[in-house]
């Protein structure tokens, strides 16, 4: 093995069947980098099955912040030959494929005719046998070998393996450490290959968390005082349920897996109704079932937070893949007109802060709030600085104390007020009796169908908008203030847009990004200025019908000049987006 060039960024992919431990190895590798002061974005691709199929875990690692995913693969860890066959053409010309020669003799030219890069055979299975490990440990041998291939210190892997397995079983940790060392040693001592690209830990870099959008949503909700979480399993929302269930004890949470999404949402509404902060999460199909409850929360003025982790539809669609086609659905889900907030964070940090804010907004305005995520944000890991908790205040709005309630002689729960928000009593409080009513009602909650009262109560609920709109943040501009083209995007497409924007600006093409988190109520006055200033607007979103563009046309009568749409169920890769932007700017 000989020495190679230092590299600022690398794209590493692990591939194999479900059940090969792809996800675990990917996470371990990603954590080696994040603990080494490097920055990471990962993506996991898997079909909807439990064993077999083809799974990949991609890790894009860099000395700088990683926003997007590269199509290019520098190091491919192939736990089966299908991985080589499927990804051979994605290999960088100077890339390397770690490959286990265990099943059958391989003739690379014949078996992998399109292979770019070098095939580096490693007897993963033999090494596992030697170490008397389980066959699944091939992945650990492989990531050990990968460490050698990129000249990254093996000690960092040892450290992560110990913290991953050590808590449960020191023996398992030792076995894995030995296996990884054997893989590492094989490359150093026996392989003829050379180090082509190396990446090094950064000494003295700030400590960063490595977490998914769903982890961040969960943490944001916990920071926001969440005590109730109910859900029905559905990819890509399920990991929130797993996280919450794992922490029901130490965080003092009631976590329920319910019979369906209707129960998940209505149970959370019940909990919110009596004064506990509750939330539920699902994907598009489940949100269809929850839709009626969104209107119930609005009509009964019960605070409620929904997390909608999108995946491609219609129907079951692509159950484990990526899409952003539920924006228009979230904007209008449930019958009737009512005030809601719809927001879509662009990365884990935004997911944390804005989920926290979602709980506050829901309670202060006594409305439903929908937080939109998607497969890439929900399940991809990103290195993120520990969240700054200073100044994060839980605000319960007009929730009355017993003392305040005692001062109100003729209490009416739905009293018409200047800002549309009525002082709120809770069941159990003296003097605060009311009926929360899904039928329209007058100030006490009593059903009322009088046309004048109906108009007054509709207007009362809509009056909440006046104050609400003032605190809705506008879209944020990234990159040069003055650019030849402005990308316009929302939610997790922020990542690939940032990556493509940076790549283009480095090449001398001046591009900036206008990114929306808050989509309803729509921050009109803040958006319109920036859009009008732009020379050429290019929409970037993962859906077939340019849903953000539709929203802009409705709200501002201002469409986007060009639209880049992707709806193949896969994430936006930086190279692809750069090419599309260049095309749009021609």
């Amino acid at each position: 093995m000989t020495d190679g060039q230092s590299s600022r960024s690398l794209s590493i992919m692990i591939g194999g069947e479900a059940g090969y431990g792809i996800m675990t190895s990917g996470e371990i590798l990603a954590r080696c980098f994040s603990r080494g002061g490097l920055q990471v974005q990962t993506d996991v691709e898997y079909p909807s099955l439990i064993r077999g199929g083809h799974n990949t875990y991609q890790i894009c690692v860099s000395e700088k912040e990683v926003f997007g995913l590269a199509r290019r693969v520098d190091v491919l860890i192939a736990l089966n030959d299908r991985t080589v066959r499927e990804h051979q053409s994605e290999m960088a010309p100077d890339g390397q494929v770690l490959f286990d020669l265990y099943e059958k003799p391989i003739d690379p030219k014949k078996d992998f005719p399109d292979l770019k890069g070098e095939l580096v055979p490693v007897p993963l299975s033999d090494i596992v046998k030697e170490k008397e490990g389980d066959k699944v440990m091939r992945n650990t041998v492989a990531i050990g070998a990968c460490m050698a291939l990129i000249d990254y210190p093996l000690s960092s892997l040892e450290d992560v393996l110990r913290s991953t397995f050590g808590k449960k079983d020191a023996e398992v940790a030792n076995l894995n450490i030995a296996a990884s060392k054997a893989g590492f040693d094989f490359i150093v001592e026996k392989s003829k290959c050379s180090v082509r690209k190396r990446i090094e830990p950064i000494q003295g870099a700030p400590k960063r968390m490595l977490l998914t959008g769903n982890d961040a949503i969960s943490l944001g909700a916990l920071q926001g005082g969440l005590r109730w979480y109910s859900a029905y399993p559905m990819t890509p929302a399920s990991s929130i349920l797993h996280f919450m269930a794992a922490h029901e004890k130490d965080m003092g949470l009631v976590v329920r897996q319910t019979e369906d999404e209707i129960a998940a949402a209505t149970m959370a509404i019940g909990a919110n109704h009596v004064g506990v902060r509750g939330m539920c999460a699902t994907s598009g199909g489940g949100f269809c079932l929850m839709a009626e409850s969104v209107g119930l929360a609005a009509m009964t003025e019960t605070p409620m937070v929904y997390v909608l982790c999108q995946r491609p539809g219609p129907s079951t669609g692509l159950a484990t893949r990526h899409d952003q086609a539920d924006l228009q659905f979230a904007l209008d889900a449930s019958q009737g007109d009512f005030v809601r907030v719809v927001l879509a964070p662009g990365d884990p940090a935004e997911a944390f802060y804005h989920t926290f804010n979602a709980l506050n907004l829901a309670e202060r305005y006594q409305i439903p709030v929908i937080v939109i995520s998607d497969r890439v944000l929900s399940e991809g890991f990103r290195t993120t600085l520990p969240f700054d908790l200073d100044g994060m205040m839980i605000d319960r709005g007009k929730l009355l104390s017993d003392e305040q309630l005692a001062q109100i002689p003729d209490y009416r729960r739905f009293e018409i007020t200047d800002d549309g928000v009525s002082p709120r009593s809770l069941p159990g409080m003296k003097g605060g009796i009311f009926v929360a009513n899904g039928d329209d009602h007058y100030e006490t909650g009593e059903t009322n169908e009088d046309p004048e009262i109906r108009t007054m109560m509709m207007d009362k609920r809509f009056k909440k908008l006046t104050k609400l709109i003032d605190e809705i943040p506008g879209p944020k501009m990234y990159g040069p203030a003055d650019a030849d083209a402005t990308l316009v995007s929302w939610g997790s497409s922020k990542g690939p847009c940032m990556a493509a924007m940076n790549a283009l600006n480095e090449k001398g093409t001046s591009v900036n990004l206008l990114h929306f988190i808050y989509l309803k109520p729509f921050p009109r006055h803040l958006a319109v200025e920036q859009l009008k200033k732009a020379r050429l607007t290019i929409g970037v979103e993962c859906n077939r019908t340019s849903q953000l563009d539709r929203l802009l046309r409705e709200e501002l009568k201002l469409g986007l000049d060009k639209k880049i749409r992707k709806y193949d169920g896969r994430p936006i890769f930086t190279e692809w987006l750069v090419e599309k932007i260049e095309e749009a700017m021609r």
């Binding site: 109730w228 509404i269 009311f434 059903t447």
Partner: protein, 284 residues
């Protein structure tokens, strides 16, 4: 001392004159008064239908929600504030049709609440369509040639689902019904009361007289509600004779007993602020 008068709401019921629902609301109020529950600690949750207007007619906290979903709403409310006495008011359409799965799940979870189902074997508020408890052959607007479906037997379902308090009352016997509702509220677990409730406008078959002819009080037959198999057998009895009273009763842990967060007291009393820094540390 809570009185029935105190529980009278300013809202006047808009049920049809003679409707069985009047007796049920009276029985609910009597039960609350006789148990001397503080109205502020009572939460009545209902779905949609004639039955589900009931929370408006009792001066306690109420939640008149959406069709079929009072049980999950009530489950969330009860677990979030165990200090509340939760009474769910539902109908045969609400509970056994659109809300059927929640019914089975609430019963198997043994959520600590009383469930009173106004069972009139017809859809009233939507002007007379078939219901899951409509008898085979029963003619309605939607079954002009008679129902071709076998009726749901709610008590059988509740017993099979592991119900810990399964009973039937009759709107034509409010005193007996009040007793059942009281027992259901006091029961630790899901206190289920299916109530035979004549719909005087749309159900011309299952009338007060029809029920009166068939209904009998189990308690007067020496029946003991302690054997699930015997209760299952009894629950199938329908037609010429319809048993009233408690078919089965047992003590079992309730939903929430094993939830770690509730060991620290009612959820609603727990502070919202918490320190998530140790959790963040785990991601480094």
């Amino acid at each position: 001392m809570t009185t029935v008068d105190e529980l009278r709401s300013p809202t006047i019921p808009d049920w049809c004159p003679g409707c069985g629902d009047y007796a049920i609301v009276m029985s609910v109020k009597s039960a609350i008064a006789e148990l001397d529950l503080d109205p502020k600690d009572v939460l009545i949750v209902s779905g949609i239908g004639c039955s589900s207007k009931l929370p408006h007619y009792v001066q306690t906290y109420g939640f008149h929600g959406i069709h079929g979903r009072p049980l999950p709403i009530a489950t969330g409310a009860k677990l979030a504030n165990q200090g509340l006495k939760v009474i769910v008011i539902s109908g045969d359409g609400d509970c056994y049709s659109i809300g059927m799965s929640h019914f089975i799940h609430a019963v198997r979870r043994n959520v600590d609440l009383a469930l009173v189902v106004h069972d009139n074997q017809i859809y009233g508020l939507t002007t007379g369509q078939t219901s899951p408890t409509s008898d085979f052959g029963f003619k309605t607007k939607t079954t002009p040639s008679g129902s071709i479906e076998n009726a749901v037997r709610p008590l059988s379902l509740a017993i099979a689902a592991g119900g810990t308090f399964v009973s039937r009352g009759f709107a034509g016997n409010p005193k007996h019904l009040t007793g059942l509702i009281k027992e259901a509220i006091q029961h630790r677990g899901t206190g289920f009361v299916d109530v035979l409730q004549p719909c005087v406008t749309f159900n011309k078959v299952n009338t007060y007289a029809w029920y009166r002819e068939r209904a009998y009080d189990l308690a007067q037959t020496g029946y003991q509600p302690t054997d699930r198999a015997a209760a299952a057998e009894k629950a199938r009895e329908w037609g010429d004779k319809i048993p009233l009273g408690v078919l089965f009763k047992e003590e079992k842990p309730v939903y929430g007993d094993l939830m770690p967060a509730l060991q620290a007291g009612p959820l609603v009393k727990q502070p919202l602020e918490r320190d998530i820094r140790p959790l963040m540390e785990r991601f480094i």
